[in-house]
Symmetry: C2
Subunit: 138 residues, 2 copies
């Protein structure tokens, strides 16, 4: 039930980019140094975030990354979902098949009630927090 470092690193990177918004693009090296995260690993994460259009890259010297939208229009859910693949705590509540989906034989599984409720709580929580909330900015 743990988030991986993808999400935690990713959110920290996004906060960094958001805070420097007016100054321009933030390079991977800067984030890497400031947050003490492997720069090569960070590249992978920012790549995913770029493909989901949460950030834009600026090439060349003085280049780096910039937010694609305003901070109050980017939620933590957007970031976690992009990096983690899925937000749901169990697959049986989502319809997605996977190794851990064992409950499929029983549509009326009582346990599923709990997981569905949990999935909604997590979803509601993560989409209620924006980058702007974390940075104290609009």
């Amino acid at each position: 039930m743990k988030l991986s470092t993808k999400s935690t690193y990713g959110l920290r990177a996004m906060v960094n980019i958001a805070l420097e918004q007016k100054k321009g693009a933030v390079s991977i090296k800067e984030i890497s140094k400031k947050e003490n995260i492997s720069s090569v690993y960070l590249e992978q994460l920012l790549n995913k975030l770029r493909r989901e259009d949460l950030v834009k890259s600026v090439r060349g010297p003085t280049g780096g990354y910039v937010l694609s939208r305003k901070p109050d229009d980017i939620t933590v859910k957007d970031i976690v979902k992009t990096l983690e693949g899925s937000i749901a705590p169990v697959d049986c509540a989502t319809g997605r098949e996977g190794r851990r989906t064992v409950c499929n034989k029983n549509k009326n599984c009582a346990a599923r009630i709990a997981w569905t409720k949990l999935a909604k709580a997590i979803d509601d929580c993560l989409k209620s927090v924006t980058l702007a909330d974390l940075c104290g900015k609009k």
Copy 2:
């Protein structure tokens, strides 16, 4: 961000035991067959639940497991916490040290605001659901 099968199997086992409450103890073999879960693996899980005093074991033929408390006094949180070890989605919000605790250098980490909120949402949700809720029983 997935729950392991420990929690999902464990909850399903507990629901089974709760539903047969009046008929007496439920054996591992019964649960194993009904839920299609390895009986040896199930033993491990019920062992943990017994050590946390969520169930009691009844030995001998016709033996099995019985709830230690009434269904409305056992929450999904109790079960998940026992089997999963911890409920928190990130360690940095709990004070527990671990491999994924990398944020410790920065007490004012903006990202932590999000994780703390998430931890509370999960905790609140899981402790609001009891076995009785899932079984439609008191």
